[in-house]
Subunit: 309 residues, 2 copies
Amino acid sequence: MTTKHDILVSEVGPRDGLQSIKSIMPLPQKKAWISALAASGLREIEVGSFVPAQVLPQLADTADVVKHALTIPGLTVAVLVPNLRGAEAALRAGAHKLTIPFSASETHSLKNVRRSHAQMFDEVREIVALLRAQPPDARPKLEAGLSTAFGCTYEGEVPADKVVRLAGQLREMGCDEIGLADSVGFANPAQVRDLVVRVRAVTGKQHFAGLHLHNTRGLGLANVVAGLEVEVDTFDSSMAGIGGCPFAPGATGNIVTEDLVFMLEAMGLHTGVDLEKLLAAREILASAVPNEELYGYVPAAGLPRGANA
Amino acid sequence: MTTKHDILVSEVGPRDGLQSIKSIMPLPQKKAWISALAASGLREIEVGSFVPAQVLPQLADTADVVKHALTIPGLTVAVLVPNLRGAEAALRAGAHKLTIPFSASETHSLKNVRRSHAQMFDEVREIVALLRAQPPDARPKLEAGLSTAFGCTYEGEVPADKVVRLAGQLREMGCDEIGLADSVGFANPAQVRDLVVRVRAVTGKQHFAGLHLHNTRGLGLANVVAGLEVEVDTFDSSMAGIGGCPFAPGATGNIVTEDLVFMLEAMGLHTGVDLEKLLAAREILASAVPNEELYGYVPAAGLPRGANA
């Protein structure tokens, strides 16, 4: 028996969120939090990142987190991998989905992962070859997440033509899906509509991964509405809006999962997520990182009278 | 020479904002603030409310504020009037536009202005008669602002059929324009699209006043995008998001003028508002009410690199 879902909310808090805060969440709390997130109905969770522990000590236990997440029935266990080495670790850990971030702005790429576009393409090629060498039933999916797709803190405007060209190249190289990320909170609704349509024209609808939006300038959910207008059906978000890009000054916060789910459900769209259970998962986060600021309007204001949770 | 504007941003901070905070802004600061708001390019400002001073001491100087605002060339000076008595005062003061709030939820109406729908219709009838008795060139416009049009803290869901019926009745009675207000932050984008289309079908496009949205659950700008989709061209907002409905628990904040203007301009829509000058007007507000919390993402994060202010 399957339930009809209109929209996939892909939770990135355990990765994008935890990597951006000072507190290090201990492994037992991470496990409990991820279990609670999955129990609320979230079907895909980015649980960590395979980067050296000295770079991101908050995510040093990613292999153990993946191991736990794989025990949760029906959950797609996603991880971030910055390079081939990360992909090898993700493969060993058994993750279902690997996302490699690829900055459309080369300046951002050099600052963020110290690699030019040419070097990034090399990494992607090697990762694709690694994955293709696996037996089909043990082969994780590979997504290229085009970050700074809507603008860059260093370069300013990032031409749409360039983003479209990069998306086409990454797809041709063998990435299963291409996503668009507004890592630094520059996107506006008109731009979201235009760029999604143009990128999807080169990737094909089934190979378009969705939108990863930030709320830096308060336009996060407005950009979701623009995405819905052009039939985007997958949105990344982070519980309590934790996380942001460490290389983007003032870029605070992913869109808030609680507010996103509230909006989508209020609009009559089905996410499969139970809002009350989602707020229960927030309590686990709040007690595990008590010194961090948590965001979200719905958690503060409560559900409207008469709303279906 | 006229400039093409796509969207009218109607500033309600001096009324909806100031009535909801504890601080009382002195008259000289109000004048300076309103002048600065107009200087940024805002073409319509709701500058006060003609209610008894003991009810809203923050707005007791509305007649003087109107007098000042009328000296600003090109500015539409709007005021709120809860009843005939308020309308008489507004007429004496010379306001260009009167808005009478009409709660679609009768429970909210009774709590908010202590009047049933039948009593409110009587007020509207008397105000229309008063205005029609004026010479045409001295006759202000009358808007009925249908509050709780998207839901009510007391009643929960407010049926769209009821809102559409009320809008039709108010238009038939002689209100020049009918607006829809989400006074308590219940609206979602799908509902905004649907209700606007249905209400405009009975009022006619030229008699639809636009949307007054709150950001209680973080959906304010998302609802603006939905409004734009169905060609709404007028949005109320409040500088720094100050204001909310005192009778709606947890209902904090109008949508933020600064963020709204940023979004619209980023989308390529013309508001006629200069963002740098708008942020200068915010400084006047900040120093005039130093103990009040000011909201807004764009003022905190700054403009993105390469953005046209």
